[in-house]
């Protein structure tokens, strides 16, 4: 890790390189997701059954109009990967926001108000912590059936606990600190104290949790899609593309390999970002 030796005024705000690398990767994937309709050489559902399992352009039998080759229905793999980024990004961002919001809110309330709010929240946290999150997500998705909004909610639901724990613990620590006591003495309302004084002071560690959580949400979404518990086809998701590719794994490796690489890249991005944020706090 590079340590800047020259004490400049802005040096303190300088972030570790991991942060920038992660942000660059995530930014690139978001850009691809947003611009997919413009960038993709074909529609993600355009079939050409006569081109089924065409290899990538650089291999024999490939052509540049289908750069990464085609799937079983002759759909362009690159286009499907680009549109697939939308599912991963939507799930990653939205479920982190929803889960983070929910968890922070509950943790904040539990830590600040104590009593039954705390008891109830703590019990909920304990129940949820008694099970591996992927386990719960699979059970719920299988029960509810596949769709993008459900997927987002389920993943938000399994991740709120991590935020709630940290928020609760930090609120407990902050509750009796001078600035909170001072605000209360000055007659500020509970709501104002919570939102203006407590929340900002507990937010930084939660951002780290959010970044770390994002990588596990992406992996969980991919795993659910792989098991056929993700979004409705023909909407492509990288996880379900790996599952489809698996049925032709020995004939057309590109169907399995590329979507997996896409997932790994995005997760590396999220992990780098989280790592950077963490180091910055240290």
């Amino acid at each position: 890790m590079a340590v800047s030796a020259i004490p400049r005024p802005r040096a303190r705000r300088r972030r570790p390189p991991q942060f920038y690398a992660g942000a660059a990767i995530l930014g690139a994937v978001v850009a691809v997701a947003v611009l997919a309709p413009q960038l993709a050489p074909h529609g993600y559902a355009d079939q050409d059954l006569l081109r089924s399992l065409q290899p990538p352009a650089w291999m024999r039998g490939g052509e540049w109009s289908y750069p990464l080759g085609t799937d079983r229905l002759g759909r362009d793999l690159l286009a499907r990967l680009m549109f697939g980024a939308r599912v991963s990004i939507a799930v990653a961002v939205l479920s982190v926001l929803i889960g983070g919001g929910l968890g922070t809110g509950l943790g904040l309330a539990a830590g600040y108000f104590g009593r039954w709010v705390d008891r109830l929240t703590s019990r909920l946290i304990d129940i949820q912590l008694s099970f591996p999150p992927v386990f719960i997500a699979i059970a719920i998705m299988a029960a509810l059936g596949q769709s993008l909004p459900k997927l987002i909610l389920v993943l938000a639901f399994v991740s709120w606990v991590q935020y709630a724990r940290i928020a609760r613990a930090n609120t407990l620590a902050v509750r009796e600190r001078e600035f909170v006591l001072a605000a209360r003495a000055l007659g500020a309302g509970e709501r104002r104290i919570l939102l203006r004084h407590v929340l900002p002071s507990i937010l930084p560690p939660l951002l780290v949790v959010g970044a770390v959580n994002m990588s596990s949400v992406i992996l969980a979404e991919a795993a659910l899609s792989f098991l056929g518990l993700g979004v409705q086809p023909p909407t492509p998701a990288w996880g379900s593309m790996v599952a489809e590719g698996r049925t032709v794994q020995s004939l057309a490796w590109w169907n399995t390999v590329f979507p997996g690489m896409a997932i790994a890249t995005l997760v590396v991005g999220a992990n780098l970002l989280g790592d950077g944020l963490q180091r910055e706090r240290e």
Binding site: R123, D126, I127, L129, S130, F131, P132, P133, V134, F135, I138, A139, I140, A142, A143, L144, G145, S215, L219, A222, A223, F226, L227, G239, V242, G245, R246, Q249, S250, W253, T256, V257, P259, G260, I263, A264, V267, V268, N271, L272, D275
Partner: protein
């Protein structure tokens, strides 16, 4: 201390009750198990008769009450799918899952700790940089994809290793490798960070000042302290592996509880899902408790008596 234990165990009962209700509702909301069990060309009157035989014609609260009564006697019902006691099915597969989990942990410990210690004491070197990058990739790979690639390479192309099932120890290689990649990456990073942290601390400096050899310093002091957080994370990972390796078990058709649950969910085999969830939940809680206790033992500064 005893009070703490009793409290945690009593708590477990509440957790399991709450979860059993959740499972009950989820599985029932998600579809009619009898319709899944019966072929489409079966006659309606036969289907209704079978529904009665499974007790699925009763209202949900009645079914749940029956389940509680049976569960209190240690009976978790009979699998719809396999006409066998659900508990028997779960206990039958638990050793397989445990074996996979423990093999994975063994691989993780065997590789992750030495490598972590090694690079931790060489922070900033080229080796450290390379290992850091590798571990980053390790924790970012989707396990199911890795599993599929390993099957493609070692079973399909090279034909060195079996692809699925569990017939001999050889079958253990690919699934445990798949799972170990993530945990090893995690542990290596953790150990490295702990070593760095510990080496920075005062008592190591003191030990060095006392003239103790570098080797002694590293092994005795650094290792012991690094161990504390490593043990915690390993414990949590073990819990995750016991319940959470569903996807990898499915990829390798590994006859464990995770795969059993997945099949149970797909066929709405309520008793099996319930039994898996209850048993995995119990194990998960107990392992976490054991980790807490171990933590206590390793670091006497922590006490649990004042609640959490």
């Amino acid at each position: 201390m005893i009070g703490y234990l009793v409290q945690r165990l009593a708590h477990l009962v509440w957790v399991l009750l709450a979860v059993s209700i959740l499972v009950f509702l989820l599985v029932h909301l998600s579809g009619d198990p009898v319709r899944l069990l019966t072929p489409l060309d079966a006659r309606p009157e036969d289907i209704e008769r079978v529904r009665r035989l499974y007790g699925l014609d009763q209202p949900l609260p009645v079914q749940y009450w029956r389940f509680l009564k049976d569960a209190a006697r240690g009976e978790l019902g009979e699998s719809f799918r396999f006409s066998r006691p659900a508990l028997e099915l779960v206990l039958d597969r638990l050793p397989n899952t445990a074996l996979l989990a423990l093999t994975t942990i063994a691989l993780t410990v065997g590789v992750g700790i030495p490598v972590g210690l090694w690079v931790g004491s060489r922070a900033g070197s080229l080796v450290d940089w390379a290992v850091s990058l590798a571990t980053f990739v390790c924790i970012s790979l989707p396990s199911f994809w890795l599993g599929v690639l390993l099957i493609l390479l070692f079973a399909d192309r090279l034909r060195w290793l079996p692809a699925s099932g569990f017939e001999s120890p050889l079958y253990l290689v690919l699934p445990s490798l798949t799972l170990a990649v993530y945990t090893t990456g995690l542990i290596t990073r953790l150990v490295r960070a702990d070593v760095l942290e510990v080496l920075r601390q005062d008592f190591i400096r003191t030990a060095r000042a006392k003239g103790l050899g570098e080797r002694v310093v590293r092994s005795r002091h650094a290792l012991r302290n690094a161990l504390i957080s490593t043990v915690t994370v390993l414990g949590l990972q073990l819990g995750n592996l016991l319940g959470g390796s569903v996807v990898v078990e499915a990829v390798f058709a590994w006859p464990g509880v995770g795969w059993l649950m997945l099949q149970g969910i797909q066929t709405r085999d309520l008793p099996v899902v319930r039994a898996v969830v209850l048993i995995v939940g119990t194990l998960f809680v107990l392992i976490n408790l054991a980790v807490d206790l171990l933590y206590l033992y390793l670091d006497p500064r922590i006490r649990y008596d004042h609640g959490r």
